[in-house]
């Protein structure tokens, strides 16, 4: 019994060590509450930065949103036409509504082609380098939400 407890403890502390090293380990998602079709409160109470959000949506290894959506951004000739255009999205949707769509659009439309950006469960054959991690971190989700909230033109 004692040995079992000790084994558990060392397993937990070694996981914590790896995390402290900044290695990729399974990341616990922050809890969030859905009200209607929105997540009104920011993840972890974090505040987003629109400038950073814009970089994230452009970054092919992060949001890579232009693969599917058009954004009101010049100098980007090849933009996708899979999802709806993002110009004026803040007039159609509240911040909380945008947040839920970023976290997991399939909660609104189970058949959606839009990837879940803050989810780790129920995914099959995830590449090892992405395993156990959400596509975007809580801070990155908030940054993207902050950027989309500026698209009210």
């Amino acid at each position: 019994m004692k040995r079992l407890a000790a084994g558990l403890l060392s397993a937990i502390s070694s996981a914590a060590l790896i995390a402290a090293d900044g290695q990729a380990v399974a990341e616990e998602l922050l809890p969030f509450e859905i009200h209607g079709d929105a997540v009104p409160k920011a993840l972890g109470g974090l505040s987003g930065d629109a400038q950073r959000g814009k970089q994230i949506i452009l970054d092919r290894r992060k949001g890579n949103c232009l693969i599917c959506h058009t954004f009101p951004i010049e100098d980007e000739p090849f933009q996708g036409a899979i999802g709806p255009p993002m110009s004026g999205v803040a007039r159609r949707l509240s911040e909380g509504q945008i947040r839920l769509r970023m976290i997991d659009q399939s909660r609104i439309n189970p058949k959606t082609a839009m990837p879940p950006y803050y989810r780790t469960k129920g995914l099959a054959d995830v590449a090892p380098e992405y395993e156990g991690r959400p596509a975007l971190s809580a801070q990155e989700i908030e940054d993207v939400v902050a950027y989309l909230a500026t698209l009210n033109g």
Binding site: I67, G80, A81, A113, P115, A124, A127, R133
Partner: protein, 270 residues
């Protein structure tokens, strides 16, 4: 240039492979074996006019380099047997006509699913007593493309039978299952979204009739499994090995689904 190459994208966006599939089944069940569902549009029909022209002209298609190389290998003795492919099979234009259009296929003796690459390597090890070629090596790509070229314009004709059914079902399940961190299935892109813009690419129906194909992004000829690895990577999913059972099963499913589409190897792709 074949008719398929000239097909345009317009009016095709709602074409559902599954619907086409069931149509075929329904027609066959009703009696007349001659009428089939309309084959899926080839990936070629989503290329620009100038790339289509480049592909169909042997003088400008960069993939033709591998065809010449393959023709040379076909006649060159190799391995302890001292035999070449031609020693056993003679003129490829006759003996290999239509062969690629019937692959992948289950090998009767072992029950193994073989695509053209695997079939070539089986001949090397069991007939020529030579080393198998590495997957994606130039000689294997060249021979595969050369043999596929002998089926140019022939409709893909791969049937499901008792021996292949389990492989087919596995491939089909993989095609319709969401996968990867981005949680997308092959079908979401290659059925529902075919014809739409994914960044600079127009998504096609995911037909393998042009492989090995010369992809501009690769600047070289590549196998169907290399293309499938790109698709897996795109959705941040696990990439299976070249020649893996997973991609072989998918290749079989894709071929059955592409019934009637003419072989176009070596196709040009973006």
């Amino acid at each position: 240039m074949s008719v398929a190459m000239k097909q345009t994208v317009s009016g095709r966006a709602s074409h559902s492979a599954l619907a086409a599939f069931f149509c075929v089944a329904a027609v066959v069940a009703a009696g007349p074996a001659s009428a089939g569902g309309e084959p899926l549009p080839s990936g070629t029909s989503f290329l620009t006019q100038s790339l289509q022209a480049q592909q169909s002209d042997e003088a400008t298609n960069p993939g033709m380099l591998w065809i010449s190389e393959g023709a040379l290998i076909w006649q060159t003795p190799d391995g302890a047997s001292g035999a070449s492919c031609a020693t056993c099979h003679g003129d490829a234009g006759t003996s290999m006509k239509g062969v690629a259009a019937s692959y992948p296929k289950v090998y009767g003796k072992t029950g193994e699913l073989l695509n053209l690459e695997k079939r070539i390597n089986l001949c090397r090890t069991s007939q020529q007593n030579a080393e198998p070629y590495a997957y994606e090596s130039d000689p294997l790509l060249a021979l595969t493309a050369f043999i596929a070229r002998q089926s140019l314009g022939q409709p893909i004709n791969v049937q499901i039978d008792d021996a292949s059914r389990a492989f087919y079902e596995r491939g089909k399940a993989m095609f319709y299952r969401r996968q990867g961190q981005l949680n997308l299935s092959c079908a979401q892109c290659h059925e529902a979204l075919a014809g739409k813009q994914l960044r600079g690419d127009t998504i096609s129906y995911g037909v393998g009739n042009g492989y090995p194909a010369y992809r501009l992004e690769w600047q070289t000829l590549g196998s169907l499994h290399r293309r499938l690895r790109s698709c897996s990577y795109g959705v941040r999913a696990r990439r299976f090995e070249f020649g893996s059972p997973e991609y072989l099963s998918l290749e079989l499913f894709l071929a059955v689904r592409a019934q009637g589409v003419p072989v176009e190897t070596p196709a040009i792709r973006r």
